[in-house]
């Protein structure tokens, strides 16, 4: 019992340290006038923390410094102390502290003290139950799913035991990016061993940050609290895919989280409503996508392309400068993933040979049909994708002559890229349908929350420039 309590304390300290490092990075990246809400800052911090720490671990390996709790945490104090002092001067620290306290109190009391209507409370309760289930499911079971054992979990264990990014004793798609296994290994150092069930708490936490971010983005897009809660519950509790990824140690949830952050802020940016400093966050989140999964970089390219095409079509004032900025964000994301690309190059590993072959028209057609089936097959995503498409139809002309075009291009681009990926995957014709069925839910998950931002159209037809309630609770 005492041992379990000790481990839980160590886990909480590790997760808090991730959040603190991310918060420090956020404070340094954002200008003082950046009008992010406290809840948004908290949700964005986790992604920056995971990104910063995992890149630091790669840097330590390149410098041949072994991972220890000291080498992983102590140098960050040089950033954390001045960043927190700066946050205090800006008044963010106090506001964020109050918001965290209110947020936890709202969850703990089911918003009774805050006087929420029953309607809102019902959806908050649904979300709480979903996350309670996912958290317990994550921390009470060891790794069991295929990629947990074969790829991500194995690498995390190897990095922890070898105290470096060392894959000399196995071959498990070694060229894959390593944000997730490195963060898991980082938590092992806090836990003092390979305590895989507890380290999996990272995933419900990431899902929580994703959900809070989604809710905040909907509020920014003009939804009242009740509608934002309904739409958030609709995202989480539709089919089994999202819920399952809250408790398995796959890298897809991390990519989905970074994708939502980058796409959501880019959408606000195209609408001219993004808070100052959004460009830096979009850049880091694009880097996070590329550093989490092999599919991350194509997702970044689709985002960049969707934003550029939207700007070229709508021709807002100073469109040329805006396009240059989008290109710079994409380039920044690529630069963040560059150290890993160089590392792979120096190791002499083949990249992507197991996923990229020659184009097959037959696979393209069959893959397209299977993707369409997956979009409407309820066990995968329930009603999520059909409602996304209905929302696109309901958008009518605004799909062409407003920044909503960005979301439409993002949805179309991701679906097209998924089908194209299946057209070039090197599998036999007998294995192909099995390959698609084993991967399609994950690929569709990556863009699902960002695509679901289009719910803001039917739910908030009269666009509001900025919601008056900045605390978002």
């Amino acid at each position: 019992m005492t041992e379990t309590l000790g481990l839980l304390v160590r886990l909480l300290a590790g997760l808090l340290a991730l959040q603190v490092v991310g918060y420090a990075l956020l404070v340094v990246l954002l200008p003082p006038r950046a009008a992010f809400a406290p809840l948004e800052r908290l949700a964005l911090s986790l992604g920056l923390g995971c990104l910063g720490l995992s890149l630091w671990m790669l840097f330590l390996t390149l410098c041949k410094v072994p991972f220890t709790l000291l080498t992983l945490t102590a140098p960050w104090l040089l950033l954390i102390v001045p960043a927190f002092w700066l946050a205090g001067r800006r008044g963010w620290l106090q506001a964020d502290g109050r918001t965290t306290k209110n947020f936890l109190a709202t969850i703990a009391t089911l918003a009774f003290r805050a006087g929420w209507p029953r309607f809102d409370q019902a959806f908050l309760l649904l979300l709480i139950l979903a996350f309670l289930f996912a958290t317990l499911r994550a921390v009470l079971y060891p790794f069991w799913a295929w990629d947990e054992l074969a790829t991500w979990g194995l690498k995390a264990k190897a990095f922890y035991l070898s105290q470096a990014v060392d894959m000399t004793r196995f071959e498990a798609h070694n060229y894959y990016p390593n944000l997730v296994p490195l963060v898991l290994a980082y938590l092992y150092f806090w836990l003092g061993g390979v305590v895989e069930p507890l380290a999996k708490a990272l995933f419900p936490l990431t899902g929580g940050a994703l959900v809070v971010l989604f809710y905040c983005l909907l509020k920014r897009l003009g939804l009242v609290r009740a509608d934002a809660l309904v739409a958030t519950a609709f995202l989480v509790l539709n089919g089994t895919t999202f819920l399952t990824h809250l408790f398995i140690a796959y890298a897809d949830l991390m990519v989905t989280y970074y994708h939502l952050g980058a796409a959501g802020l880019l959408y606000l940016w195209v609408r001219g409503e993004a808070p100052a400093g959004s460009g830096a966050i979009i850049t880091c989140y694009a880097g996070g996508m590329a550093w989490s999964k092999f599919e991350g970089w194509p997702l970044v390219l689709i985002l960049v392309l969707a934003a550029i095409l939207t700007l070229m079509w709508l021709r807002p004032p100073r469109a040329g400068k805006a396009i240059s900025s989008v290109l710079l964000m994409g380039l920044g994301g690529w630069l963040i993933s560059l150290p890993w690309r160089q590392f792979v190059h120096f190791q002499g590993w083949d990249v992507g040979l197991d996923h990229v072959g020659s184009f097959s028209a037959e696979q393209f057609l069959q893959g397209g049909w299977l993707v369409l089936q997956a979009l409407v097959w309820p066990p995968y995503f329930g009603l999520l994708w059909p409602v996304v498409f209905l929302s696109c139809i309901a958008a009518g002309r605004s799909l062409w002559n407003t920044p909503v075009l960005f979301l439409a291009l993002l949805i179309a681009g991701n679906l097209a890229a998924t089908v194209l990926a299946y057209a070039i995957v090197p599998t036999s014709s007998a294995e192909f349908p099995l390959y698609v069925r084993a991967t399609v839910d994950r690929l569709l998950l990556h863009a699902a929350p960002a695509s679901a931002l289009i719910f803001s159209l039917p739910l908030a037809p009269a666009f509001v420039q900025a919601p008056p309630d900045r605390n978002f609770i």
Binding site: P117, R118, F119, D120, L126, F133, L136, R137, V139, L140, Y141, P142, F143, W146, L149, A150, G153, L154, K157, A158, L161, S162, R169, F170, P197, L198, V224, R225, A226, D227, V230, F234, L237, N238, G239, T240, L243, P378, P379, G382, L383, V387, L390, A394, P458, L459
Partner: protein, 166 residues
């Protein structure tokens, strides 16, 4: 319900909402067995240890038997998925997986090249020639006692003379 009234939603949204509620009921039904198992696990004494299957217990036994720096050859089908579980749990021991259809010559070559100290026969259907390999007269393999589903063989590379195994 004030400003969040149900009445303000359009007819289409109300229909979709009702369909979603039906889907929620299905989702609850889908995860109900897991939720029950979870609650049982929550109260069980050895909840998070993850060694509730015989295969897991066998793996725990193997971690005691095989030195951490050793290399082992696992002969098992890819489809069973056991190689991923074994590779994960036995790490940092190095795994070389061979298919049960592999020829004996290839096995002996792999043992030499990879400096393997153990051969583990997994649960997959083995080709008939494997039983002859196990009975080879030079005494290269020694069966090690384990309580698991597979067979663990220690390898004595000094007894391998080569050239005749096919």
């Amino acid at each position: 319900m004030g400003p969040t009234s149900w009445r303000r939603f359009s007819f289409t949204i109300k229909i979709l909402f009702l369909l979603w509620l039906l889907q929620l009921a299905w989702l609850a039904w889908h995860f109900a067995p897991e939720a029950v198992a979870l609650s049982q696990r929550l109260w069980a004494a050895d909840a998070a240890r993850g060694q509730d299957e015989s295969f897991d217990r066998w793996l725990a036994e193997l971690t005691q038997l095989l030195p951490p720096t050793s290399t082992y050859i696992l002969i098992d089908c890819y489809e069973t998925g056991n190689y991923t579980r074994m590779r994960y749990h036995l790490y940092p021991r190095r795994q070389v997986r061979l298919d049960p259809k592999t020829s004996p010559a290839f096995l002996f070559t792999a043992i030499q090249q990879e400096q393997a100290a153990f051969v583990i026969l997994g649960g997959c259907h083995l080709a008939p020639h494997w039983r002859y390999i196990l009975q080879e007269p030079q005494g290269v393999f020694q069966t090690l006692p384990t309580a698991g589903s597979g067979l663990v063989l220690g390898v004595d590379p000094g007894r391998m003379v080569g050239g005749f195994y096919d």
